[in-house]
Symmetry: C2
């Protein structure tokens, strides 16, 4: 077994040994404990799990200072961002408590026995049930909001599913600390032992996905990582659902009118978006379509000025820094691509990258510029007229987001751009930037491959659907039904004989 | 290219040459036409597609006599069953028209811009959108309700997705006739050309699943067939969702009290269920737990009497007949399994099978009895006491259904059985039989692997969710939003700022 080390990305030095990589036997023990915990976690009911989620949020907030300090030392994301991330993860836990209390997520439906054009129909009652223990893979770039706690864990627990997390190697100390805080809070809130588990190491992650007790997998990471886990799942005797959030280019279109009206401001804001968190967001704008001509030049000039004035940023780990050098270098060297500006480099021992602004013609986009590059780089593609723009948009890979920066009151071109990009994205953003994914009821963070492999979101309240499966009782006596499906229950929205009814 | 032949299973003889196997070029042409049709099909809107679905139903009913005659000649399922199946498929089309009009399926949600604990939140509006062209694989055993028309096609069209069907080789003439009827009706109803396509042949089916235009696949068939299609999908540059309904044992538990109260009747009814449609239902009860002792003997005796009095049944095709001989023979020859009764054989040239009743002890179930065997065979597992019963239930594979036949007012044992089987089924049936899957709002036809690979149903109104994906508009001007997401729209249920509202 190898040491699990926590590294300081600002210095490149090992800060501490956090743990040993989890053995296959220990993975199996945690999975068995999760399976054993499942009935009792479900038994807590919606109110019990809502209380559990709120207790977890309270506990995390109670250790805010410690958690942020460890996470900052380990990720260099900065105290401001990490405090915000902790707030986000607590908000998310509490929002899922509301989801449980509201109860729509159960999709409860009752069809009483009766006649149908096909003859007599039996009594049928359907609702969604927890799918069973879930494996969650922590993401490198969100140590608090997509890792041990975060959207996957919160939605799985809300659904009634025990969770075993694979800690990301970028922040094992944060993962272990936060895990310990959550486990103590869960125990105090009456959750069964085994509700939460944590494993460290790649081999442990592979063993986790292969374990028979695991009924679904949530993953945020690269396409290659996702493909590798999918292969393990395909080799199971019983392939299970895999929810992967994988790779996203996030194209942005600046219309000629927008460039004319506020080109300089857009340029500055675009740099703010693509360098936010050192460009380590899945919604980072990786390709920006800017019109040719003077108005577009103003956008590019403002971007160049902002990038030239920027300093090197610290990336999360050595692997990301090396990938950034390789992939950004590949884009910069692709045919027709030229470098517009670069921030100040840092030749220290940390894992740093200088922000990089590249440009090319939209008429001939090399393949490299349509692939995600994690880190502070973006490519500006200049387009001559809308034909050239639409030809380029038609070749875009699918992304989590697509963005249109419009002129004031402009509709016609934005509508056409929306229609072109709608089949290639999960969220269309107008007059704002794709980074920043609000947690809410109407959010969708997903999209066709390669952005995800899923028809479900990983952010927002509907993320819970990933960890549920429908179940129907036919002709069941009332004593054998969940309370939510019994006649006379009025606590949640239900569909009765085809008609949706609100709670009373 | 090879001939696509229609065979009469009652005689084993070729009845006609229906078509040529579809070439890869023609598959590509049909997929491109489906992709081109997608925007116009979506543009029809909910009302337009509701009218389309009703027109398809009317057209099918208008050709009822012809369709049933061809299907009966080709499948030997009998005019009674096939008339019922046509009624079912028309009912289903019309029910999805109601689903469209009701509008809940869109899951429309509006979060107005406002403050949140994480700072200002933008305006977010989410609803489900068609996923794009869908490949549907017709099933052998439902020439009208899970083939060219049927749950997959109806729900995909309702969702707004063009459909290319792979006709099943068991009923190509029926498939072609019904397809021609549907295409003419769709054209008359204003659907775009390319809304429906049909391919024949295994190679064409493989090419269909691999085609870039196809965005989801619906399949009803064997685990091996499903695995083969999944492999093709995994090799796509962009793996797409696969909804497979694969294999199901459908265990039945007869409680001691039920056996004591009505053992003879249960035995007779169980034979009716497992020989219905010559045992060619995905919900056929394949393993029946019956208590040891005199009460259980009465169940088995009644089953034996019914089976002995039965005649050979015609199976759908030569492959199914050969598989039945091989797999049922394997079960009959497994350790501890003995043959109780067999119906009268038919030594003609048709693809026939005599109903077969086997028995074994629940204490030691050989692996063979836990695998699905398509055709008229079931195994009765006798159990001594509940410990033995629960040990056996704990080893059951997942199924579409599980059934409990209870005594009058009996609760305790049925509850324990339900809890044991609930994680291994999609529908729990009480005091009835799993064959017969009503089309309704609360139906669920699904379950964990190997019964399906999906968290969605293939029967009932919620089947539409398979062919939709969420989409969110952020900060969109009203002119760019679908009508259902604009302020003031009140035609469908929507979630406004987290609160579910009914239409007004």
């Amino acid at each position: 077994m190898s040491d699990v080390v926590s590294t300081d990305p600002r210095t490149g030095r090992t800060a501490e040994i956090v743990a040993q990589e989890t053995s296959t036997e220990e993975v199996a023990r945690l999975c068995a404990a999760a399976l054993a915990a499942a009935p009792a976690l479900e038994e807590l009911g919606r109110d019990g799990r809502a209380a559990l989620l709120r207790a977890l949020a309270d506990a995390l907030e109670g250790r805010r200072t410690d958690v942020v300090a460890v996470a900052d030392r380990e990720t260099a994301l900065g105290a401001g961002r990490l405090n915000g991330e902790l707030t986000r993860t607590c908000y998310q836990l509490r929002l899922f408590a509301e989801v449980l209390e509201e109860g729509s997520y159960l999709e409860a439906a009752v069809d009483h026995a009766g006649d149908s054009p096909m003859g007599p129909r039996p009594d049928l009652r359907r609702m969604l049930m927890p799918i069973g223990p879930v494996a969650v893979f922590g993401a490198s770039n969100f140590p608090l909001a997509f890792s041990v706690p975060g959207g996957d864990t919160a939605s799985a627990l809300a659904a009634g599913c025990p969770v075993v997390v694979k800690a990301h190697g970028s922040h094992p100390a944060t993962s272990q600390l936060v895990f310990d805080v959550l486990v103590a809070a869960a125990r105090a809130a009456g959750a069964p032992e085994g509700t939460l588990g944590l494993v460290h190491g790649l081999a442990a992650g592979a063993a986790l996905v292969a374990h028979p007790a695991i009924r679904a997998v949530g993953f945020t990471g690269s396409v290659n990582g996702g493909r590798a886990l999918l292969q393990i799942i395909e080799q199971r005797p019983d392939p299970v659902p895999f929810f992967g959030e994988l790779s996203s280019l996030n194209p942005v279109v600046v219309t000629p009118q927008a460039a004319g009206e506020r080109g300089t401001r857009l340029g500055t804001e675009l740099v703010g978006s693509f360098t936010l968190g050192a460009g380590q967001f899945c919604t980072k704008p990786g390709l920006v379509f800017v019109p040719a001509g003077a108005d577009g030049d103003a956008v590019l000039d403002a971007m160049a000025a902002a990038v030239q004035g920027s300093s090197a940023q610290v990336l999360l780990n050595e692997g990301i820094a090396a990938s950034f050098d390789r992939i950004a270098g590949g884009i910069a060297g692709a045919p027709g691509v030229s470098t517009v500006a670069r921030g100040t480099a840092d030749d220290g021992a940390g894992f740093t990258a200088a922000p990089l602004l590249l440009t090319t013609s939209a008429a001939q986009l090399p393949e490299q510029v349509t692939e995600e590059c994690f880190g502070p780089v973006t490519v500006v593609a200049r387009y001559e007229g809308t034909d050239e723009l639409f030809a380029a948009l038609g070749a875009m890979p699918s992304s989590l987001t697509a963005t249109v920066l419009r002129g004031a009151g402009e509709v016609e071109l934005p509508l056409a751009v929306s229609q072109e990009l709608r089949t290639r994205a999960g969220r269309l953003v107008y007059d704002a930037y794709p980074t920043g994914v609000a947690v809410s009821w109407a959010q969708h963070h997903g999209g066709p491959w390669p952005s995800t492999n899923s028809q479900h979101t990983s952010v927002g309240t509907t993320a819970i659907r990933r960890f549920l499966r429908p179940f129907t009782w036919q002709g069941a006596p009332a004593e054998l039904l969940p309370a939510e499906l019994t006649d006379g229950f009025t606590g949640i929205p239900r569909r009765i004989d085809g008609v949706l009814e609100l709670p009373r």
